[in-house]
């Protein structure tokens, strides 16, 4: 299987900045995989998200080196418009991305710009809006929606472009728990369909632990490690050193004297299984 994204020795320094925002990043993303990206503020997470659809270096000034292949295409050879059907980018604040008067206009806008037929546009809008369960909201103003609904519209407007990669930059950090649950239930369905690869930038470690296959840790532009999720969230010294919040379940189990990292559950459902199996 060919990777959807292949990042090799990526370096980027914003113009006027002394230190690279990204300094030697290497990873690949396979179809159906979810990669979590985490790290303290200023680690380069958002910058990394913006390189995948070539916003960096195409729309920013600075020094770029290394290589990013998206479905085999070298991002420096393509514009953001060329890659919009390969990579969907969802930001922390969905409003920053809205321009339509209605949810429908919001979804139709980019599709029209791609020169698609009316029939194809209708098919894609229907499909995308159903994937986020917002069929009844097509005629509403996107600005009148709740935070979670807004974020689902932002996701739908990406999905309408039928990308193979979805990059989400802290999609739930400004949402309340209902909004967060709504967004994750959509993301879980997308993951289950195994049609697209997801890169999720987040500080919410309990969500990362239950949703990602692997986690990439960044700090001050450097790649600290890329580990599978179980290994990452049970490496307590690593999490502590880089200020990553330890999921509460992991924190509790890790306080048991003599427990081995592989014995520590990282999600609620694993912990329940472990506690009830032991009793049986």
């Amino acid at each position: 299987m060919e990777p959807l994204v292949q990042v090799s020795d990526l370096k980027w320094t914003y113009v006027g900045s002394k230190r690279p925002a990204l300094n030697g990043i290497n990873f690949s993303l396979m179809p159906g995989e979810v990669l979590g990206v985490t790290g303290p503020s200023g680690a380069g997470k958002t910058t990394l998200a913006m390189t995948i659809d070539s916003l960096i270096p195409n729309n920013f000034h600075g020094d770029f080196s290394g290589k990013i292949l998206v479905n085999g295409k070298n991002t420096t050879d393509y514009s953001v418009c060329d890659l919009v059907q390969e990579v969907g980018l969802v930001f922390q604040d969905p409003e920053s991305q809205f321009m339509g008067m209605t949810v429908e206009e919001e979804l139709v806008f980019t599709l029209e710009n791609l020169g698609l037929s009316d029939e194809e546009i209708t098919r894609r809008v229907d499909h995308a809006i159903r994937m986020v369960h917002m069929e009844d909201f097509l005629q509403r103003s996107p600005f009148s929606l709740s935070g979670g609904q807004k974020q689902k519209v932002a996701i739908a407007s990406c999905l309408a472009l039928e990308p193979s990669i979805l990059v989400l930059d802290e999609p739930t950090s400004e949402l309340d728990p209902i909004g967060t649950t709504e967004v994750f239930s959509v993301l879980r369905e997308l993951k289950k369909s195994r049609k697209i690869g997801i890169i999720l930038v987040s500080h919410a470690t309990e969500d990362l632990a239950s949703f990602c296959d692997r986690v990439l840790l960044l700090s001050e532009g450097n790649q600290v490690c890329l580990k599978n999720t179980q290994e990452f969230f049970t490496d307590i010294p690593l999490l502590t050193q880089y200020g990553v919040q330890i999921p509460q379940i992991v924190e509790a189990f890790s306080k048991v004297p003599g427990i081995q990292p592989e014995q520590i559950p990282i999600t609620l459902s694993e912990a329940v299984r472990q506690m009830t199996e032991v009793e049986a």
Partner: protein, 275 residues
């Protein structure tokens, strides 16, 4: 303990013909408490906290601070009793240097220059930013600006400090620093009310949790009392901390677990049983 804030049958709507946000709310806050106000967006938390902070006036009912109705208080007097920290520090910060920002409140309280200076130094020391007093407030990240906002409230030495989502947008390390700062302020004798969606912060810090939904108080008690009612919380769309969910799902006996250490004895026991 003495009564600091008494809220009696307070109703509130943002406009005369607008929907009523709070429907006859009663609440008493004692001096020295550390309260977390929780509930989904739109439940009325921020509205209530702004009424307490004097940023809005109740449509009907009364709010008394130290026994006196806020209706009879000048803004200056109320500001010296209750300080309000906005969710987004950038909504609050508007001056050119950190020290001017901190001095603004005390100056408006009518304090003389030496007292203003003393308050600036004290507040900036408390948040660990004294050496940046001459800097422009945007010199650093959001975590630092959040501390500037807290310091500018602290400088007025209010009895009650209300903090609306003080850790939103901060990374974990900055969140821990902010919560440590709030703990220090509480220990120094201030009454604290935080608004947050982070139930783990509530479990680990607050002494009292108040759950709101639809403009009413649904549950009010210690975090342990509040988090044990998972079904009731679900109606207010509040999810208890992960470890409390584990407590519920494994049917553990006794007091609910709300912090990770609460679960350790039970986990140890079950691991030993399996060996």
């Amino acid at each position: 303990m003495s009564k600091l804030v008494e809220i009696e049958q307070v109703r509130f709507a943002y406009s005369e013909d607008g929907p009523e946000i709070l429907h006859g709310l009663d609440l008493t806050i004692e001096e020295g408490e550390y309260i977390a106000l929780i509930g989904q967006n739109g439940s009325g938390k921020t509205t209530l906290s702004k009424l307490i902070g004097g940023l809005n006036i109740p449509t009907s009912g009364d709010i008394r601070i130290l026994g006196r109705s806020v209706k009879d208080m000048a803004v200056k007097e109320r500001a010296s009793l209750v300080g309000y920290c906005y969710q987004n520090p950038d909504h609050q910060i508007f001056l050119n240097t950190v020290e001017e920002e901190i001095a603004y409140g005390p100056k408006n309280l009518g304090l003389d220059a030496p007292e203003v200076e003393a308050r600036v130094v004290q507040a900036l020391e408390a948040v660990g930013l004294l050496k940046y007093r001459k800097e422009e407030p945007y010199f650093a990240g959001k975590g630092e600006r959040q501390k500037i906002a807290v310091a500018s409230v602290l400088a007025m030495q209010p009895k009650l400090i209300v903090l609306d989502e003080p850790t939103t947008g901060l990374d974990w390390r900055d969140s821990c620093n902010m919560m440590q700062l709030i703990r220090t302020i509480h220990e120094a004798g201030h009454t604290i009310m935080i608004i947050t969606h982070n139930m783990r912060l509530v479990a680990e810090n607050a002494q009292r949790a108040i759950v709101m939904s639809n403009g009413e108080i649904q549950i009010d008690g210690t975090p342990k009392e509040v988090f044990r009612h998972e079904d009731f919380l679900a109606k207010s769309f509040v999810q208890p901390p992960q470890i409390t969910q584990l407590w519920k799902r494994v049917g553990a006996e006794g007091e609910p677990w709300i912090c990770s250490e609460d679960a350790v004895p039970a986990i140890m026991e079950r691991i030993q049983k399996s060996n």
